[in-house]
């Protein structure tokens, strides 16, 4: 087909996704959708294969394709024009129950020609704990409503009894209804725009352009893979739940134009809800793969064709029903993100041509902390601490990671202003800032993470409670690359009312503190909650870092004077100026000390 028309259709398909995203954010109006950009919209072919992936939480692109295919399998000929289907069963396609997919067929001249699919993290799904992440759940049955596919709009008409049934099972049904309405509006926009695109260029041309687009992505990725060295690379990620460790192990093998991700050796599924299902693991590895390997390639089925995944059944990355999975997106899925990012980074770094695309692992440990309780206006509120979307960048072969710079799987996230949070929850921040030394040391430093503390403030009930889950605080997860060190780990402290502080405790907190990482806790009276989030991984040998950059970091309180000396081998004067001779001497003796060790 002629390249001009192809170019126009390609651009327009992208715009369709973009417009649908705008609609989704507008109608939903929720903070997690609008601030965290915890959403996704994509277009799929008539058979459910990915046609055009949008910029959102990227681990959904392939899972939503599977959701379309599951609906096709289940409903077959009964799929009608104007229908919308809901699917949120993780054992069918979804990531966890609170990330609801709405998928809608697009017809032209009565014929099914494409699908649109979107998701948002709904306000609540009726699991044991409010907000969707449910650390106290012991199986999928306690994780709220879930469906392997149900029709909620029939030929343009809302199926009210079905919708009412769903709403009957969730907290704040009116907020969940708004989430559903936003997704319906989003699919409507996608459908209308697709139909007018087809009307202008004709169904054959659009179809051909779609096929060409997929072919082109496949060819471009194939060419790239052929340029990269053959080999295999390993990574490992630990997840902690109150002292119980699960491990995700990955061997990524590249051979010719194929890339195989093998999770053999990963832990058996956990009794805790950190597990993920097969489709979630697949989505988890594509989330970093799209932006790291396909940054200049359209994200579609063509990319997927060249990738293979092996995930042992019954493992933490391919659990079997009824294992609980509600924490998956901040649990095993993110471990898969991190493991894939690490191996892809090593592969790129092994190539002289692609080394500059390599990155150490970015923000690798989401914390799902949902505050809930009565706010200062008297209403009940549930809301996530959006700092988990603030993240931290990994270092690359040519630059430091971006401090509090986000994450790879969700390219356009952001966090809420302190004033926005304080206006709608009865809490006050004591501080929120970058965390010194949290960026993984290296020739190029990982971006720093951050730290914050909150206390109850003018709360009608004296405070509120929060649900906390994730992968714990014991392990650093943002791996370094090329000899760089990982970013510092997360930490969560509950400073309790009236408890005496011990020596060495953080003087900024009101009292003695204990670590928390899993479950439901109070933030009442004089309590404080302290959260520290991880930095990105470093790149290269810290002893190769330009001493001037170390000095600058010390002035900016991003690196402590201790770390400057002990890790970077940089000696600074009291004024913070580099002592070049002393630095050279110190670095020399540190290298000598390294060599003095015995070979393994």
């Amino acid at each position: 087909m002629d390249p001009m028309t192809f170019s126009i259709i390609r651009h327009r398909l992208f715009r369709i996704v973009d417009e649908a995203v705008i609609t989704l954010k507008h109608v939903s109006g929720s903070a997690i959708t609008n601030e965290g950009h915890d959403l996704m919209v994509s277009l799929y072919g008539a058979d459910g294969s990915l046609l055009m992936g949008g910029v959102g939480f990227l681990h959904h692109l392939t899972s939503a394709a599977e959701a379309c295919k599951a609906v096709i399998r289940k409903f077959g000929d009964r799929i009608g024009e104007g229908d919308v289907y809901l699917l949120n069963d993780p054992y069918t396609a979804a990531l966890h129950t609170s990330d609801i997919y709405l998928v809608a067929p697009i017809h032209y001249d009565g014929k099914l020609v494409a699908w649109s699919a979107c998701f948002v993290h709904v306000y609540d799904i009726g699991a044991m704990n409010p907000g969707g992440f449910s650390p106290q759940s012991i199986d999928i049955f306690t994780e709220g409503f879930s469906s392997p596919g149900i029709k909620i709009v029939d030929k343009g008409e809302m199926v009210q009894d079905v919708v009412d049934t769903i709403l009957n099972m969730v907290r704040s049904p009116e907020m969940v209804m708004l989430d559903l309405r936003s997704m319906i509006a989003c699919n409507n926009v996608a459908r209308e725009r697709m139909q007018s695109l087809i009307a202008k260029y004709g169904p054959e041309t659009v179809n051909e352009a779609g096929a060409e687009l997929i072919r082109q992505s496949e060819e471009l990725l194939r060419a790239r893979l052929l340029e990269l060295p053959d080999g295999s690379w390993q990574s490992r990620q630990y997840l902690d739940v109150q002292g119980e460790t699960a491990t995700v192990r990955l061997t990524m093998t590249k051979k010719g134009d194929r890339l195989i991700f093998d999770f053999t050796g990963s832990s058996p599924q956990s009794r805790h809800s950190i597990n993920c299902t097969y489709w979630a693991a697949l989505g988890g590895l594509f989330a970093p793969l799209f932006p790291l390997l396909c940054y200049d390639i359209t994200w579609n089925e063509g990319v997927i064709r060249l990738i293979e995944m092996i995930a042992p059944e019954g493992s933490v990355v391919n659990c079997t029903r009824p294992a609980p999975v509600s924490v998956a997106t901040v649990g095993a899925i993110q471990s898969v993100n991190n493991a894939a990012c690490a191996t892809i980074g090593k592969m790129l770094a092994a190539s002289d041509k692609y080394r500059e695309q390599a990155t150490a692992v970015w923000h690798a440990n989401h914390f799902a902390i949902f505050k809930f309780g009565r706010n200062q206006k008297g209403g009940q509120s549930i809301g996530i601490l959006t700092e988990t979307f603030a993240g931290a960048g990994g270092a690359s072969a040519f630059a430091d990671g971006v401090d509090i710079g986000g994450e790879v799987p969700n390219p356009i996230s952001r966090m809420a202003n302190v004033e926005t949070v304080e206006a709608s929850f009865p809490i006050r921040y004591l501080f929120r800032k970058r965390m010194a030394d949290s960026g993984g040391p290296g020739r190029w430093r990982g971006g720093t993470g951050g730290e914050l503390a909150i206390v109850p403030h003018k709360a009608p009930d004296g405070g509120l409670h929060y649900v906390i889950s994730g992968k714990g605080d014991r392990h650093p997860m943002s791996d370094g690359l090329a000899g760089g060190l990982p970013g510092g780990p997360n930490a969560y402290l509950w400073a309790k009312s009236g408890e005496a502080a011990a020596a060495g405790d953080d003087g900024r907190l009101p009292g003695g503190a204990q670590a928390v990482s899993w479950g439901v806790f109070p933030l009442m009276g004089e309590d404080a909650l302290y959260v520290r989030w991880n930095g990105g991984g470093g790149y290269g040998d810290p002893l190769d870092r330009d001493p001037e950059n170390v000095a600058k970091d010390v002035v900016g309180a991003l690196v402590s004077a201790d770390a400057a000396r002990d890790i970077y081998g940089v000696v600074l004067s009291e004024q913070g100026v580099v002592d070049t001779a002393a630095t050279d001497a110190l670095r020399g003796s540190m290298k000598a000390e390294r060599m003095a060790g015995e070979a393994a």
């Binding site: 390993q234 030394d437 650093p476 000899g483 810290p542 201790d562 390294r594 393994a600």
Partner: protein, 96 residues
Amino acid sequence: MKEVRSWSATLVSMPGKSGRVIACRACSAELCGTDASWKEHAVLRESPLREAAGATYRSAGDEVLLRRFYCGSCGAALDSEIALPGEPFLLDRLAE
């Protein structure tokens, strides 16, 4: 193959006395043949992460280890990994 090729960001492969070998990118010192596990031939420093690298790591679990691999001839950092006790090395290899 005569030429020096990238093996990783910190290592290269090149011709050695008996077949191709993996060598330090910084000083060209030979570690081992390309079919061996190079980490076995590098200097390993393994220590609890909490004590290994500064205050921010002090919240890490007691058993979490930081492994650093250095070139035995020039002291360059070649790689690092996080491990629990008894974990095998992460193995990265090119198919040459």
